[in-house]
């Protein structure tokens, strides 16, 4: 087993997330989000069904906000749960946070999460109301549509043309204790929306758009799960988990064919929906010309969406191996060696030494 001091240090963002999560946990309050890729996937139903089951198991559940139109099934569940009426103002409705806090239930249902409160409300957005409930020890079950995640707004708009002013920050999703994706086939979603269906697979433009949203929602959930996994690994002091997401590490030297390697890294990153790192190991006595060239390469890498880093070490193989382990890399890109000498023959050249020291990682060797 590795010693805890060997383990990678947590990033400041994660520490902050942990602190926030722990603050909520002092009171045992938990945030659970049901994510859907479009209206009609059944988020509200899944969420309310869980609320009903918890209520039946003896938890104290109230409904703080519910959506306007409902199916019969949703109505049936709602009739079994206690509701706290929303505040009516001239500007519209808002969740009655004060009343909910006075009532102090264990669990509050908030549907939907993305809503703008009327001006003059205690919080501008409903997700801030939810934060207040959590801070006061009330667990929250809530639902959100991908369209309403701020960072995805533009993508969704580009795909569907739909826009919204009611958004929540992605960091709020990442802070959730639990996230569940409500995934249904696109044809079922279309059918529920009352659209015409033709054949199997993707049948028309609208379904193609929905499919794109579905992919985004699945990947967003995977990202949240990955963040949770990382914090679990950190708090339990266990080895990082390999292979859940493809992570590419491009190792450059001044004589690498950097353009080809970065381009390939970029394509792999996009195809695998993975992450891309580009590093250079600097040893003492690097010439000015060489460091200028490396700076050019790093700029190219950043333009390709890579995270870049310069490692200081006299032992490149060791430095790369350590970095790869910390970042849970699954593929390392390096360049073919330029020459061989007796030392390489006896001890193995740097490529082979790297191959030996990174057994759980693919090593891809590129032409110069």
């Amino acid at each position: 087993m590795p010693r805890v001091s060997d383990l990678p240090r947590p990033s400041p963002e994660r520490l902050l997330r942990q602190v926030q999560a722990e603050e909520n946990k002092q009171w045992g309050a938990k945030l659970k989000i049901f994510l859907g890729y479009a209206p009609g996937v059944g988020k509200s139903y899944r969420m309310l069904d869980e609320a009903r089951r918890r209520h039946e198991r003896g938890e104290d559940v109230v409904v703080g906000a519910a959506q306007g139109q409902h199916s019969e099934e949703v109505q049936t569940i709602l009739s079994k749960l206690e509701s706290i009426p929303q505040l009516e103002t001239t500007g519209g409705q808002a969740m009655d946070v004060e009343n909910i806090l006075r009532r102090a239930p264990q669990v509050c249902v908030v549907d939907p999460l993305a809503a703008q409160n009327p001006s003059g409300s205690r919080n501008a957005y409903r997700w801030q109301d939810v934060q207040e409930l959590l801070r006061n020890g009330v667990s929250v079950l809530t639902s959100v549509n991908l369209l309403h995640v701020e960072e995805y707004k533009e993508k969704v708009q580009a795909i569907t043309g739909r826009d919204t002013a009611e958004t929540i920050p992605k960091s709020f999703l990442l802070s959730a204790d639990d996230i569940v994706i409500v995934d249904v086939p696109t044809d079922l979603c279309l059918w529920r929306l009352g659209a015409q269906l033709t054949s199997i697979g993707i049948s028309n433009y609208q379904e193609r758009q929905l499919s794109e949203l579905r992919e985004l929602a699945l990947l967003l959930t995977a990202e949240v799960v990955d963040a949770q996994l990382e914090s679990y690994v950190q708090t339990h002091g266990i080895e990082p988990v390999f292979g859940t997401q493809e992570r590419f590490l491009v190792c450059l030297t001044p004589s690498s064919n950097a353009a080809a390697m970065i381009e390939s890294g970029k394509r792999n990153k996009e195809r695998f929906q993975g992450e891309l790192y580009v590093v250079y190991v600097r040893r003492d006595g690097v010439s000015r010309k060489e460091s200028d060239r490396i700076e050019e390469y790093m700029e190219l890498a950043r333009q390709a969406g890579a995270t870049t880093e310069i490692l200081e070490s006299e032992n490149p193989v060791e430095a790369i191996t350590e970095f790869a382990r910390q970042k849970r890399i699954t593929q390392i890109f390096i360049s073919h060696g330029s020459h061989r000498n007796w030392r390489d023959l006896l001890f193995g050249d740097p490529i082979l030494r790297l191959v030996r020291s990174t057994e759980g990682i693919d090593v891809r060797v590129f032409p110069r």
């Binding site: 995977a222 292979g243 859940t244 195809r271 759980g360 693919d362």
Partner: protein, 378 residues
């Protein structure tokens, strides 16, 4: 897959989960009840009750084809009665647990092969499986969980599915179900908590499932885009403003040997080829082999073909040189080789193939594939 090719075949729908108890079967049955209520002819062709009361309740009211009883080593086992389902010829057949291996004496070794027969007869099949049963993920699963999954389904079987549904639940809820005894019998729970269900395994498997589902969804978009000519802004930025021809077509070559690590190599090569939409070939260059080694090579070639990899056998005195020459002649962009276990004297004698291929193919990309059976730091 062109629609015409599939028109007479039944569609396949896969409910994909990350562990036993996430609710795959439950959701499949729930959807089936909805369809049955609208008058669709649905039958339960195979159902594994696992003594889960909630799930069993879902089957009530659905038409069922009785299982086939098979005697093996003085015990009775139940399998799907494929012939009976064919005779019954429903619109939709529900077949639980696609990755199941049939008991010896069954007509076909694997349940997914029975499912092919139903699909060919024009029956739509709904089925369930877990992410760890996908063949090309086998080594990643081993690396993550330390558990080697024996029952797998080739990727192309999953790929032919018209629809994949990710069945998602939080690990916390799953563990609660497990502890309540809703997934396994009480005597099994302890074992499950110490094995597959332990620590970070569930989170990692869940993430893999979501990524796999996203990938499957994207592949179906490619198929649609090629035939329809629609321009939809996509998740993958690589595809924006770029037609397929503009992206250099990758061609992957897998070097097959008698080494046990070859199986891992084949799975990884296939998976990378799928993601990069690359062609995938395999090459074996015969040398003097012992009988057991010959058998191993045969097995590897068969395995490669079962994953729809084009296999070649080529004579050559110098194995690494033959591989590299073949790669150059066939416009290969990437050669996949296994990590060798060679010693110093073997390296000096040039008996280390992967090392020699890396050295010889300085104008090509060579990927030395991870040994995923060796977990990092453990």
């Amino acid at each position: 897959m062109p629609a015409a090719e599939r028109s007479s075949r039944g569609n396949l729908k896969v409910y994909l989960g990350y562990a036993a108890g996430v609710g795959k079967t439950f959701q499949m049955l729930q959807d089936a009840r909805d369809s049955a209520q609208q008058g669709t002819d649905v039958v339960v062709a195979y159902f594994e009750p696992h003594e889960r009361p909630d799930t069993i309740a879902q089957v009530r009211g659905l038409d069922t084809v009785p299982h086939r009883q098979i005697q093996y080593r003085e015990r009775t086992f139940e399998e799907m009665d494929t012939d009976a389902v064919l005779r019954r010829k429903p619109k939709i057949a529900l077949v639980d647990e696609l990755a199941h291996t049939n008991i010896p004496g069954s007509e076909r070794p694997k349940r997914w092969e029975d499912v092919q027969v139903l699909l060919e007869a024009g029956i739509e099949v709904w089925t369930t499986m877990n992410v760890q049963h996908i063949e090309s993920l086998n080594d990643e699963i081993w690396q993550i969980t330390g558990i080697q999954v024996r029952e797998t389904v080739p990727d192309w079987v999953v790929r032919q599915a018209a629809e994949i549904v990710a069945v998602d639940v939080t690990p916390e809820a799953l563990l609660n179900r497990l502890k309540r005894g809703a997934v396994y019998k009480p005597e099994m729970v302890e074992k499950a908590l110490a094995g597959f269900f332990k620590g970070s395994n569930l989170g990692a498997l869940r993430e893999l499932t979501l990524r796999q589902a996203a990938h499957e969804v994207e592949l179906r978009q490619f198929a649609f885009d090629e035939t329809s000519g629609f321009q939809v802004p996509t998740v993958s930025e690589a595809r924006i403003g770029q037609t397929k021809a503009e992206v250099t077509k990758e061609r992957i070559l897998i070097h097959i040997t008698s080494e046990p690590s070859t199986a891992m190599l084949i799975r990884r090569g296939r998976r990378v080829a799928d993601y990069l939409q690359a062609d995938c070939l395999a090459l074996f260059v015969p040398t003097d082999l012992a009988a057991a080694e010959r058998e191993a090579v045969e097995k590897h070639l068969r395995f490669a073909r079962s994953l729809r990899i084009e296999t070649h056998i080529l004579a050559g005195k110098d194995v690494p040189q033959t591989v590299v020459d073949f790669a150059r002649r066939n416009q290969i962009t990437q050669i996949f080789v296994a990590r060798s276990r060679s010693r110093l004297h073997e390296r000096l004698l040039g008996k280390d193939y992967s090392q020699a291929i890396v050295r010889g193919a300085h104008d090509l990309q060579v990927t030395v594939v991870a040994d995923r059976s060796r977990r990092q730091g453990l």
